[in-house]
Structure formats: structure tokens, C-alpha cells
Amino acid sequence: MTDNTETKTGAKANIIDILKNVDRRYIFLFILLAVIIPILFPLNLPIGTSAPVRNIYDFVEDLPEGSVILMSFDYSPSTEIELDPAAEALLRHAFRKKHKVIGIALWPMGLSQAQRVFAKIEKEFPEVEQGKDYVNLGYKAGGSVILMGLKEGFAKIFPTDDKDTPIADLPLMNKVKDISNVDLVVSLSAGVPGIKEYVAIVNTQFGKPVAGACTAVSAPEMYTFLDSGQLLGLMGGLKGAAEYEQLLQKPGNASLGMDAQSIVHIVIVLFIIFSNVVYFMDEHQKKQAALK
């Protein structure tokens, strides 16, 4: 009888040990499947919208035709999967409403990100002309100092656009001399310099409305600025971009990616629950053994 009980306890301990030390490659496999399957077989889950995203959409929607939006591409390819869809959705909205767009970059790779986004969205709007309806002024090192300089004028900091055209030859820049001529500033940011610098300088010092798009991991940091009203809206991660796409009624890569993200989140939650159940079973067993 005693032998049987010990055998059972030993077997249970063995199972718990196995469960505790699951090979992480199995976890990787589950995550891989959770990403691939929804992409191959989309679930088309309904995507709700949140107030921080709606605020940006409504602001752009309510701007009078021909308003100027400054888009700052403060990210690099590593985070483009989250920020490119946000940039594309915003640019699409701006062109749809016949607003003018100025692109700049505080990150070196932001220049090429901007070129790619402009090139892609420009194809959807044949009437849009570079130089007249939008310009890409490119990257300039300096972070916060660049933003301070925007008050003095774009020409001082960006003498040419990305194609080396002098700023004086760009019809749009003849109307937009400095930050006071800009109606909305949106920083698409993956870190520093990014949204925080725009909030501190362009919003707080120059009084311009600032919105942001950031990676999901850095979104919680921005809620304090949303709460204070220094940030008029926020697209946080792929979800934020997907919400904007829904508001535009033009689903794109972000909406497509939400199915995969949904499944991955649920899989991770299930993994955590499973590991906690195993943990408490193990603790219980250790207490039983200590009592004996």
C-alpha cells in the first residue's frame, strides 16, 4: 500500500517536472502556428475603435481642405510592421481630404521609410504631386534641436528635399515657412527622439496639436500625455493602425495582422495559465512532502 502511494507520488512528481521544463521549442512551434494559420486562413474578426485613435481621425477629418500635416518618420525597419500601416493609413486619409503633407525624419532610416510610404500611397492618388501636395524633407541629425529649429523655419534646417531639390523650388514650402504654418504634427515613433520630444517642444512650447503613432510596447508611456491633453490622439501598435484603417473603411496590413495577433495573445495567455497551474501543483506537492 505504501509502495503504491509512493509510486503514484513519484509518477506525479515526474509529470510535474516534465510540465515545468517544457522544451521551449514547443512554445516556439505553437507561436509560429498561431501566427501562420490566421494569415493563411483569415478570421476577419471585427475590429472596434478606441477614443485615442478616433481623436486623430476626427481631427484630420475636421481640418479644412489644404491644411498642412507634418509627419515625422521616427522609426527604422525593425518596427515598420507596426508603424508603416499607421503611416500609410494617416497619409491615405490626408490625401483623401486634400491636405498637404510634409515628411521629415529624426531617425536616419526614417528617410527611406518615408520614401517607401509616400511612393506606395501616391499610386492610389494620381492627382497628388510631389513638391506641390507633399514633400519629403528627409533626415537631419539633432533630435530635439531640430524641433526647436522648426520655429525658425524649415529652410534653415532642411535646405533641400530628399531628391536634393532646393526648398525654395518646392511650391508647398513657399507657403509653409515654419511650424506656425502647420496644422497638425504626427510623430510615428519607435523611441527617442520621437513623440515625447514633439510633446515637450512642438506642443508645449509652440502650441501645435501633436498626435502620435508608436509601437505597442511603448504605448503605455504615452497615456500620461493623452491624459494631460498634450497628445491629441495615439495609434498604439498594430491595433491602433488597424483601428485607423477601420475608420477609413480601407482595411490593410494592420487589419490583416490583427487576426494573427489575436490568436498569439490568447496562446500566450493560455501558456501563462498553464505554467501557473503547474507551479501551484508543484508547490502543493512540495508542501505535502515537507509534512511527511
Binding site: I27, L32, A51, S78, S112, A141, D162, P220, D227, I272
Partner: protein, 214 residues
């Protein structure tokens, strides 16, 4: 003098910037400093590239473990910079081709690996060992579920909980209230720290930025 001159430049520049903030009439001074900063930032890029070159050449010459990677890095650096400087960086150029078809997929791949490591780390480390850890775990569950459409659908099916929208719970309560309060506290603390360090630099007490120890 190697330390005194940079310290003097730092102190004078810092004091000018503080004065100009309160006395806009002398704004021209800060404009000059901003221009200097832009020029120095440009040189910082060259300095960075030079430093990268020296460190890697040293590792290669000493045949340090993994020196082959340093060779790959240097070849990539020189080739990309050379193509960008001499061939331009606009769409259609070789630089743009490298950016689009080499750098972008490599960067995205590295970042994507995080998802796998996060899942593995969450499985191993995210345990409700204490009440505080349990609270964190519970909050993380709600945020993870609330940030995806499938989570919203699941939440709607749970009796009692479905009386409040999960979007409201996540956006208004967790992120907008508890998270914002915590973030604000961290930010204020960090800002006070920055002010303190800045003052120490201006007064010449903190000198580690000069390098080489004191």
C-alpha cells in the same frame, strides 16, 4: 586644459540656454548654439563610424573569437556607406536596394524573434508567487485580451464582466488611470534626476561625460 576647456564650454553653453529660456530678447545666442549643435551632430556621425571602424579593425587584427562577424560588419558598413555617398540614396539607387531587400528584412526578422522569446519567458517567469505578482498577472491578462479583437469577443461572452466594455476597462481604467499615474510618477522622478545631473554638469561636479575617469 584638456578637461578645463570642455568644462568651460559646457558650463557657458548651459547657462546661456537657461538665460535665453527666461529672457527671449537674447534668443540670437541660443540660435548660434543650435547651429553649432547641428554641425557637431553631423560630426558625431563621422566619429561614430570612425570608432566602429577602429574597434572592429582591432578585433580582426587580434583574431578575437568571432572576428569573422567583424569582417562582415566592416564590409557591410563600407559598401553601404560608399554606395550611399557616391550613388545616392533615392529609390532606384543601389543603397535603396540594400535598404529594401537586405536591411529591412534582417531588422524585421530580429525584431520578430521577440515574440517567440516573450512567449517563452512568460511561460517560465510569469508566476503568481505573491499577491503583487498575481495582481500584475491579472492586469496583464486583461490588457492582452482587451487589445485584440478575439479577446473582445471572448469578454463579451463572459457573464457579469460583459456589463462593462473591455475597451473601457483597458483604455479608461488600466491605461488611463493606474498606468498613467505610475508613468507620471516615473517621469517626474526621472526629470528630477535629469535636473540634478544637469546642475552637477553645469557646476563641474559631474565630469564623467568628459571620459577617461577623473
Amino acid at each position: 586644459m584638456r578637461r578645463e576647456i570642455p568644462m568651460a564650454i559646457t558650463t557657458i553653453s548651459g547657462i546661456i540656454m537657461i538665460i535665453v529660456f527666461f529672457v527671449p530678447r537674447w534668443k540670437d545666442w541660443s540660435d548660434i548654439l543650435y547651429t553649432w549643435f547641428l554641425v557637431i551632430s553631423g560630426f558625431a556621425l563621422i566619429l561614430g563610424a570612425g570608432s566602429l571602424l577602429l574597434v572592429n579593425l582591432d578585433k580582426i587584427s587580434r583574431r578575437s573569437p568571432g572576428w569573422g562577424y567583424n569582417v562582415v560588419l566592416l564590409i557591410s558598413l563600407i559598401a553601404t556607406a560608399g554606395l550611399g555617398i557616391f550613388g545616392g540614396i533615392n529609390p532606384g539607387s543601389s543603397f535603396y536596394y540594400i535598404f529594401l531587400y537586405v536591411f529591412t528584412p534582417l531588422s524585421a526578422t530580429m525584431f520578430s524573434l521577440l515574440a517567440f522569446y516573450i512567449a517563452s519567458a512568460a511561460f517560465r517567469a510569469f508566476k503568481a508567487k505573491t499577491f503583487e505578482a498575481g495582481l500584475l498577472l491579472f492586469t496583464a491578462f486583461i490588457v492582452m485580451i482587451g487589445r485584440v479583437p478575439l479577446g473582445e469577443i471572448i469578454w463579451e461572452k463572459i457573464p457579469l464582466l460583459n456589463m462593462v466594455s473591455i475597451s473601457k476597462v483597458v483604455e479608461d481604467w488600466i491605461m488611463g488611470c493606474f498606468n498613467a499615474a505610475g508613468q507620471r510618477a516615473i517621469m517626474l522622478g526621472a526629470s528630477i534626476g535629469i535636473i540634478s545631473v544637469s546642475l552637477k554638469i553645469l557646476l563641474g561636479i559631474e565630469r564623467s561625460y568628459l571620459g577617461g575617469g577623473d
